[in-house]
Assembly symmetry: C2
Homo-oligomer: 168 residues x 2
């Protein structure tokens, strides 16, 4: 495959902070709930939804029909100017994301790639550029928390130079 | 155990409609996304969050520290007047809920119990009375989508007569 190579590195809250939040059970976030029957890890993501045009948060499920093998050619990214978007695996599996900081322009050199540990989700901040969702295995299911409502909430950008996405 | 017996029946969207939504992959809700790499099941829950007092939706994870065995004595229910509350299992496991319609008063005879099929979550409408979350196995993890912010968003009610919750 041609194009610049982009290697996915393990995701951490610190590395991912410019793009959004990692949704996982960090020990330092633990609190007791329901008379200590449960541990609760609160406020793992900033749900930021534009209310204009009947905007509201919504829950959906996305299920992969096909697996995407790596290396994988990335030639397009998208962003959602009207809201954050979270993807949380509904079982233990890893997935790979490609992201760029919010801003008017983005090209291949601005992008970073991350791989989860199988027990993490992500929340993209409003406007974060990202590769459309891919799954490493068919059948992988994600809970999606994003925006329902009117207005144009998806902008796509074709990269001048494609990337080849790989795992380490 | 004493008290009225309440048997949990399989949850369905229709049975649960007075209390909230069942979050699952109903075939009739399927749509293609990302160039047909994924199926997406949209708008599975009504996220209804009071914005006053800095109210906003938030994502959390709740992990069971202990298993709750059935039959189980239910002597208290709670409701959240300022927002809906969703629980979505982060792996395939069943769980049991006890619910009553929103309203000022609730007693044992007003409550119903449901059990999921292992691949379903629930969203309680704002104000729905419910038993505090229990898990059938320790370690069960739920994604929680509810309200962060000020104000009193939890009201508890001790039942005049306790219930004994059972599976069929």
């Amino acid at each position: 495959m041609n194009g610049r190579k982009l290697v996915a590195v393990p995701i951490t809250p610190e590395r991912f902070a410019p793009f959004g939040q990692v949704i996982g059970t960090l020990p330092e976030r633990r609190q007791a709930m329901n008379a200590a029957r449960f541990e609760r890890f609160d406020h793992l993501a900033s749900i930021d939804i534009e209310a204009a045009d009947d905007g509201r948060p919504t829950l959906s499920i996305a299920r992969a029909r096909i697996a995407t093998a790596l290396p994988y050619r990335v030639d397009m990214v998208e962003r959602h100017p009207l809201g954050s978007q979270a993807f949380i695996p509904l079982a233990a599996f890893r997935f790979v994301v490609v992201v760029g900081r919010p801003g008017e322009s983005v090209e291949a050199g601005d992008l970073q790639a991350f791989v989860t540990n199988g027990h993490q989700g992500v929340n993209y901040n409003r406007g974060t550029w990202h590769m459309p969702l891919i799954a490493l295995e068919a059948g992988n299911e994600f809970l999606v928390v994003d925006r329902a409502g009117g207005g144009n909430n998806c902008e796509e950008h074709v990269l001048a130079e494609p990337l080849t996405l790989c795992l380490e």
